[in-house]
Amino acid sequence: MFGQSRSQRLRGALAGTLGLGLVVGLAACGGSGDSDDDSTAKQSIDCSQFSSYGDLKGKKVTVFASIVTPEDKAYTDSYKPFEDCTGVDIVYQGDKSFETQILVQAKAGNPPDIAIVPQPGLLKQLVATGKAVEAPAEVAANVDKFWDKAWRGYATVDGKFYAAPSGASVKSLIWYSPTEFKEKGYQVPTTLDQLKELSDKIAADGGRKPWCAGIASGEATGWPITDWMEDFMLRLNGPEAYDKWVKHEIPFNGPESTAALDGVGAYLKNDKYVNGGLGDVKSIATTTFQDAGLPIVDGNTCSLHRQASFYAANFPKGTKVAEDGDVFAFYLPGKDASSKPVLGGGEFNLAFADRPEVKAFQTYLSTDTWANNKAKVSQGWVSANKGIDPNNLSNPIDKLAAKILLDPNTVFRFDGSDQMPAAIGSNAFWKQTTSWITGQDTKTTVDNIENAWPK
């Protein structure tokens, strides 16, 4: 394997090379790598908290994840205190096709020590291979201490608890332009009805369409609609119905999901509302989700775009993402101001080995210490770990996401399509909602998805 480093120094140099090499070329990489390493090492690391793990010097733990350069640097940086204090070498590998690769590796009996799994559905599949290892008691204790109850459930298979959540994302967000809102006197809506009124108002004011949307994403085309529908399922029918829907205890073509999809249709299939600057309703199908929100700042042809917190990274360089900036997001409101359902995603650290060093590392990752270490070095990352200090997050959108996640009134639900069987969650649901946006009616759409459910 390439990039497997044998020593701390080499690792530092490598990280420096990767990070800097992209920006300034290969000059001066060695020096910067070293100083980078030193500064992190000297920065207030209290090694005493790691002493309970025992002597692990010279051991190695492999980590496999879907996060690649440049976002992986924040991960490797956050591992450094653990590496420096325990002497364990963490070998990180990122792969964009992680989701198929990890299954192949697990089935072939060649998995990494720790996999950062982005979906509960995939986690269940991996547990089903029989290669995953139950989480140690310390991790379970940390999860009870630092996370909302729902999270433990997502990583529990047949009553056994497997993995602590690490990162989390908030999907129930609507991007908008604070400047435009201020100019035109628009208010951030606090109920679904107000959202509708706002959309009508923007449409009536003319000059631009209220919404822009895009669902193209290669073979995953359609996934942004699944998020829309999950948000509406959660708001129109409540979290209990949502859970039943995800587990297929109520049918996909029942009145609840029909209402939810029609609720989405009231926005996305409405010619008066979409698709600001991008074409007609059908253009949603061919606009990539990365480009879809740009008309808010680029050309000012639409005002609202529903997308997760990570969307901040898509705006062009120089765009000020802040409450008083060019673009920011607000919470996609619930049915009334008192209910606060939040749709989100997250990652779980699943272990495939129970060597002491793997257990120790897994435990470190489940602590508030790690969450805060990671928060300090990250951009566009947030955790639902209650021990996280929002002041450690540097950008406003991460702070907003953390605020929403840590709000005691928040009812968090994990992305539904990620929990449904793959035949639905990453096939029929995508495909049928894509057909729906290009003209297929709601009934045919929900019927087809129901029929595709594995028997």
Binding site: T221, S283, G299, A422, S426, T438, P454
Partner: protein, 313 residues
């Protein structure tokens, strides 16, 4: 890496050593067997075993733990989504080889013995050098759509031409089955160069005396093509047709890159991948792979026969 090379050297060494042990009348035969053994083992491990395993898996359910007989095959021929996949595959196989071969043949005849022959040939042959993924990305730009709005400029060639002619820009890759044919164009663009090269070589191999004799008889251009050129290069045409046909049945990259199989553009090879790896339905995926295998076999057999015949000429 070094270990692998050493292991390889050791295996080769053992085989060579074993080969020297045989003496006597039948030694040649045994030496041949010894040399063939590694290839045979690799074929068994890398081709025969996975093949049989796939066939076996195609009789099992999605998770691969319950025998369900021919249900997966029944799904392929009854499920509306799968029927669309079959329909698209039929379009691909019927259109691509014939059009690509026709274009290649026409081009070969047109540029034959012209002044710029080699340059003209290179031009058409170039797409062959581009990967399917690259070609699909290029053509995605050709089909690219921008809305029909005052200040918005088209960036797609096809829509720009349409706008110049006074039409409205279309979302070419959304409407089925038109989108499938637009994807087929990409394959034709790639394969026409291959057809042209092979057929051009065949045309040049036609003996001059036949052509001269036909000229003396006062044959027309069409007559020359119909009664002299075509019969003479018939085996080459068949080889080109079948080779492109095999490639077309397996087409995957183009569909995956251009539309991801969305908007009813999926074909068997793409569907087999998406069922196996995305939908987690290994049984159906395996059944589709077996179907693809069965469809390819007759063409491969015919292709090899024709190839032998054309070599015999």
């Amino acid at each position: 890496m070094l270990a692998a090379i050493l292991l390889f050297a050791a295996v080769v060494g053992v085989i060579l050593f074993v080969a020297t042990l045989f003496r006597g009348r039948r030694a040649d035969r045994w030496v041949a067997y010894a040399y063939l053994a590694p290839t045979l083992v690799m074929l068994l491990v890398g081709l025969v075993y996975p093949g049989l395993r796939t066939i076996y898996q195609s009789f099992f359910n999605a998770a691969g733990n319950a025998f369900i007989g021919l249900d997966n095959y029944q799904t392929i021929f009854t499920d509306p989504d799968q029927l669309t996949v079959l329909r698209n595959t039929v379009f691909w196989v019927l259109v691509t080889p014939f059009v690509a071969t026709a274009v290649g043949l026409l081009y070969a005849i047109l540029v034959d013995k012209s002044k710029f022959e080699s340059a003209a040939k290179a031009l058409v042959f170039l797409p062959m050098a581009i990967s399917f993924v690259g070609a699909s990305i290029i053509w995605k730009f050709v089909y690219e759509y921008r809305p029909d709005q005052g200040n918005v400029k088209q960036i797609g060639l096809l829509n720009q031409i349409l706008v110049w002619l006074g039409g409205k820009p279309q979302q070419w890759l959304v409407d089925s089955p038109l989108n499938t044919f637009l994807l087929i164009v990409i394959m034709i663009w790639i394969q026409a160069g291959f057809a042209m090269t092979v057929l051009s070589a065949a045309i040049k191999a036609i003996p001059d005396d036949i052509v001269e004799a036909a000229r003396l008889d006062g044959v027309t251009a069409w007559g020359m093509f119909r009664f002299v050129t075509l019969p003479a290069i018939r085996p080459a045409v068949v080889v080109v047709l079948t080779t492109i046909g095999i490639g077309t049945l397996k087409v995957f990259d183009i569909v995956r890159t251009a539309t991801g199989g969305q908007f009813d553009t999926s074909v068997v090879a793409n569907e087999f991948y998406s069922q196996s790896f995305r939908s987690d339905n290994q049984g159906l995926g395996a059944a589709l792979a077996v179907l693809l295998f069965l469809l390819v076999i007759p063409i491969v057999v015919y292709n090899i026969r024709q190839l032998r015949r054309s070599e015999a000429l």
